[in-house]
């Protein structure tokens, strides 16, 4: 019976409380003098979000920043030692290089493919099916994705029957099998890992861009077509500029996702063969080596790395508000 109670709370109670809160704020505002209302109101609307963020992200982050200046056990301050360690170790240089690769390639793959697919499937009747197919990988857990791509990248020596899909396909064309996850040349293995992540996340970009695409008024596009513009022109001059804000959101999200990505690295190579990234290095320092000081320093470096992107976002939002 307690499950039924829980189900009732889950399904009815939780949304009711939240909707009740926002109606409650209007009642509350009636007490305030008319002129104050517009000043207080936004903060009441923001309050729940701010509380959640303070408790679950801001408060721990303050701790992280403090720890980044402390020793392993957190018993004494060591100045910038942890940062010096990070920038002084050879392993970090490889992680940094890989993270840049991740950031550039993953964002390009995901946003580019997501945009292309969203625009293309918009023109066919089997759009829902096509979108579902691209979306499937997103529904797969990281561990399962690791298993799936193990089947793709598996390697057997030349001459033996291949068990990995890609090497079997190469074999058909008489090409020697490739060590997808072990080959360091040209960071091939890192690129192989990025492909896995791109395969998973393209559906993400596609869904969001597609949602924005559906918001573009069809009359506008039709009018341009009637006036004689070809499809490419319509895309170039109408669709794309109108999608730009959404593309910026997806790109920002993917840049951050790329910087934080560690699961695929962890599951597929564990950072071996020079595939570590900043985030996987951080997780290892934290839980394998138990060095919270160093792990925190890496986390702070990640935080600082995204400041420029955030500044770009500010100017973009100012621009958006100016024209609407």
């Amino acid at each position: 019976m307690s499950d039924l109670v829980m189900a009732a709370i889950v399904v009815v109670g939780v949304p009711a409380v939240l909707v009740g809160y926002i109606y409650g704020t209007e009642l509350l505002l009636r007490v305030a003098p008319e002129r104050q209302r517009a000043r207080i109101r936004p903060w009441l609307w923001l309050l729940p979000a701010l509380l959640f963020l303070l408790v679950f992200l801001v408060y721990p982050t303050i701790g992280t920043i403090i720890q980044s200046f402390q020793n392993t056990a957190g018993t004494q301050f060591v100045g910038l030692d942890n940062y010096a360690w990070f920038f002084g170790s050879e392993a970090s240089l490889i992680s940094l290089r890989n993270s840049v690769l991740w950031l550039v390639l993953l964002t390009l793959f995901v946003v580019g493919l997501g945009l292309i697919i969203a625009v293309l499937v918009d023109r066919v009747r089997y759009e829902p099916i096509a979108k579902s197919v691209i979306f499937v990988p997103l529904a797969i857990s990281m561990v399962a994705a690791g298993v799936i791509w193990k089947f793709m990248y598996d390697y057997r020596g030349p001459g033996e029957p291949q068990t990995g899909t890609l090497n079997a396909i190469l074999g058909v064309f008489g090409i020697e099998p490739v060590l997808w996850l072990q080959e360091r040349t040209f960071a091939l293995n890192t690129i192989a890992l990025i492909v896995v992540m791109a395969w998973m996340w393209t559906g993400f970009a596609m869904v969001i861009i597609s949602a924005a695409l559906k918001g573009i008024s069809p009359e506008l596009l039709e009018a341009a077509r009637v006036d004689g513009a070809n499809e490419w022109r319509v895309f170039q001059h109408i669709t794309f500029p109108l999608l730009l804000p959404t593309i910026a959101v997806v790109s920002t999200t993917m840049v951050i996702t790329a910087l934080k990505a560690f699961d695929i690295v962890y599951v597929m190579t564990y950072g071996n063969y020079d595939t570590d990234v900043i985030a996987s290095q951080m997780i290892k320092e934290m839980f394998t080596n138990g060095n919270f000081g160093r792990a925190s320093a890496i986390a702070v470096i990640l935080l600082l790395a995204i400041v420029p992107i955030m500044l770009m976002n500010i100017s973009r939002f100012r621009a958006q508000e100016a024209i609407r």
Binding site: A49, L53, F56, T61, V133, M142, A168, A212, K260
Partner: protein
């Protein structure tokens, strides 16, 4: 003249000759889409085929060999996964965890996004960007301080612990996405509503929310997926104190032993665990249809 109209004129004046004949273009379009679909499905098909195979075969021969006779496919893998005694309760736990952990952040983020889009207050952009910046905070760095807090409030092991935590972790992206969408809604709509005497609450529920349905649907799907597939947060906030409340991924992880043996069972498990999120996606697809926003993005 609006930005859209200007764009339209540019599109028309610059180029008007159609270079590729229409039927050829249509065939090329279908070909490209089908090719992409095949590429995207191929890895998953490999997993699907392997989910019906004997673990020993999976390790020794490629999945495509199972498509040729003699076919040696069976449901043993699925039976093994479903035979776990706690798999049923774990599925229910997953629902109890995922539904509120999706609903709460979506609603809370919608409130915040509305405030950021259509209310004026000092420091608005800075605060907003700071929230988005929190996206980069690694969840792992929050585990210990948050677990201590939850312990102090007696929430460890409770579903509510993960509802709240996933709301916190999901909010930066949720606010970001919804603010971007709501911010692009046309100003006139809200202005005329206020002139008609609507309160912000009414404008929110009657206008902003319905017009943002595609973005909300997309957000709901993502949040649902992340929570549904989450293992770490559940293990730490629930598993340490009250393993009876653990969700499905914890049961699936237990199929593999400490040496990694049994990983082949992850294939059938993945399909069982994927089924519901995919269903949710297909169900929500209808909200991605054109026109539901009534041309929300101003043209």
């Amino acid at each position: 003249m609006t930005a859209g109209q200007q764009a339209r004129e540019r599109a028309v004046t610059r180029g008007s000759r159609r270079t590729i004949p229409r039927p050829v273009a249509r065939i090329a379009l279908h070909a490209v889409i089908l090719l992409l679909m095949v590429i995207w499905l191929l890895p998953t098909i490999g997993l699907l085929v392997n989910s019906f195979r004997d673990p020993q075969d999976v390790a020794n021969a490629g999945w495509w060999t199972a498509l040729l006779p003699p076919k040696d496919l069976g449901l043993e893998g699925y039976a093994t996964v479903l035979a776990r005694p706690d798999i049923g309760p774990a599925f229910v736990n997953s629902l109890f965890i995922t539904i509120p952990a999706t609903v709460i952040p979506v609603i809370v983020a919608a409130f915040a996004a509305y405030a950021f889009s259509w209310m004026n207050f000092p420091g608005r952009n800075l605060l907003f960007v700071a929230i988005v910046g929190l996206l980069v905070v690694p969840l792992q760095a929050t585990l210990i301080p948050v677990l201590r807090l939850l312990r102090d409030f007696g929430l460890t092991g409770e579903f509510a612990a993960v509802w709240l935590a996933h709301t916190g972790y999901g909010l930066p992206f949720a606010v970001y996405l919804l603010r971007n969408f709501m911010g692009s809604l046309p100003r006139e709509v809200f202005e005329s509503a206020y002139i008609d005497g609507a309160s912000p609450v009414t404008a929110f529920f009657r206008l902003a929310l319905p017009m943002s349905v595609p973005a909300i649907a997309a957000l709901a799907i993502f949040q649902f997926l992340f929570v549904w597939n989450d293992l770490l947060v559940a293990l730490v906030y629930i598993g340490l104190a009250n393993p009876s409340n653990l969700p499905l991924p914890a049961q699936i992880a237990n199929l593999v032993n400490s040496l990694g043996s049994g990983w082949q069972l992850l294939a059938p498990a993945a399909f069982l665990s994927m089924a519901l999120p995919l269903l949710v996606f297909v169900a929500l697809q209808r909200y991605f249809v054109r026109g539901i926003t009534g041309g929300a993005v101003k043209g």
